[in-house]
Symmetry: C2
Amino acid sequence: MKPIKILGTGMTKFGEHWNKSLVDLAEEAGMKAVKDSNLKLKDLEAIFVGNMLSASVTGQEHLGALVAERLGSKIPAVRIEGACASGAMAVHQACLAIASGHYQKVLVIGVEKMTDLSTAEVNRALMGASAEAEEGVNGFTFASLYALMARVYMEKYGLKEKDLAQVAVKNHAHASLNPLAQFPFKVSLKQVLESPLVADPLKVLDCSGITDGAAAVVLSSRPWTVDNKQISVSIIGNSLISDTLSLSARGEITEQEATRKAVQEALRMAGIKLKEVDLAEVHDCFTIAEIISLESLGFFKKGEAGKATARGETSLNGRLPVNTSGGLKACGHPVGATGVKQIVELALQLRGQAGKRQVKNARIGLAQNIGGSGSTAVIHILERENHV
Amino acid sequence: MKPIKILGTGMTKFGEHWNKSLVDLAEEAGMKAVKDSNLKLKDLEAIFVGNMLSASVTGQEHLGALVAERLGSKIPAVRIEGACASGAMAVHQACLAIASGHYQKVLVIGVEKMTDLSTAEVNRALMGASAEAEEGVNGFTFASLYALMARVYMEKYGLKEKDLAQVAVKNHAHASLNPLAQFPFKVSLKQVLESPLVADPLKVLDCSGITDGAAAVVLSSRPWTVDNKQISVSIIGNSLISDTLSLSARGEITEQEATRKAVQEALRMAGIKLKEVDLAEVHDCFTIAEIISLESLGFFKKGEAGKATARGETSLNGRLPVNTSGGLKACGHPVGATGVKQIVELALQLRGQAGKRQVKNARIGLAQNIGGSGSTAVIHILERENHV
């Protein structure tokens, strides 16, 4: 596949938007991305909407046509759903559609409105991402599924609760530099460790929030220049892999097979080695998820990611900055929007537009978005090209 | 786009499957299609699942990974949702994915399980296909939205209730020849006209049923032979167009703009003229929908499709057989499966495998699947090639 250019990006503030509807949020992010691309709405040829929970929250389906109508457009519009990986899955499908030659310029919007439900209701609805008839019906929540992974991991590799907490401390520190983050403030190790227990060993501050928000990108097969700065960012590798929905069907729950296979495919497509990656956005719906993701991606050996986090290797100034946006943990996790937001963050970083959280001289970024307990993994690899 | 070969087709009986789950139905149709293709499951590279209502019926989302798990596969798997056009939309996305060169062989499954809800509940859930916050919340059902279209159409073109009823009589007659139809029996004009009123002027026998079922196709970029008969069926044109979700935002409700635009694009892609089409499966969720669809597709002038139906022009032995499967009306309408079933029916007809309802010497078939009140239109054009 030829590289797909990212022409524009946009996102809403992540948080509790009680005065905005799902389609308000989609429109806001979408129009920001279109404006950023220097294109007009009428230039676009298709819309891909990533969303998981709309039917559960308001009963509204058919989000493709809904979003197109709001944008005053009658172009092809499709909704893609892959649980918490819906956003990256929508980007993936958009890339394939562009690669087919059917479309040249496509808008992808990931959007979710979660705070219209109570926390209990939204946790129940989220179980639609799991093997509902096995896990949801029997009282599991995602916090408890990830707590199981954390317990097994801690037994196996000697990880401590404070090692998990370091992930939260780091990602909150990053979010404190991101004005669009839901939780733009630092937390201390003590605060994380003393926060209320959700599912032992995971505490409130080990968990991502319940979030409203949207993120969008304009993609194209053709090159782009912004403000004559000649910085172009492209998707050079992408992949999508499935695994079992139910955690009990996996052989090993301290690593994610779908992520492991997907990253190999994406690297092969991109023609790069993992060590060339300068920064990553990974799926830290819970602190343990970041640890497992970093190891499944191959950035660290099994059992090593916790220590590396404590040493600051994944911090903004570390050797591999991870989740500079604040991650799902502190930037927020509007589930259908998350995968698109990861790509927005990487694009901003590679263009040098990430403000106070800018990583210096980054050339290659990697995004990993997963659905359920690792049942879907979507990887995107982005590259900055300087044409000066 | 190069033609996409239909390597295999499969579908379940359409009806009330109280002893089968959604994933049971998906597996049954999917495995039939794989068997029919003479491929093995391990040959497939991706799965596209079309589904609308799963979240509303059971809370289960993430159907891509769910279906992949059931099939014992860990390949990329995506769910596509576009209301009642979810099935054809999934086929459309699969075609783009194949055209991109990313995949060679793809399984598409459309599936819906509706009878686990009461009729009132499922009618409410279906309003997710409409502008829910405007139409659903205010008490509209799809029967009442289509009844509005019928009333305006009747005023404008002098259509009578018996003309509408003729569509039901014809489609039930076709379904009586289809062993997989939900309602495989004939009805008389009198029976239709005397059936209980649902939303004036639409009666029970003007409406499609509430249906469980699944349909599947295996698609590929490469040619295919079956039993050395050398009959190959390909998708030579496909298109997807959006329109407003809400009926009140349309200028004209007796024609479907999205269908009109989509058919032009599909014909252009296929390089054929409409008059070359030998048979069609159109979206007759209500009898009035078949009339409006046939005219929006351009098969008949405005106001003429009702009379043409009464004259038998769209019957099995007419000049343009329409809905030989029995249509949504009498074969049944498991919403996410319908668009795939239409393509299955056309493929069977073009291969000469349609049994008692076989249309003679058909070379080109057209399928039209719509979402909501016409807010999404998906067109596929299929062609038989004889390589003898």
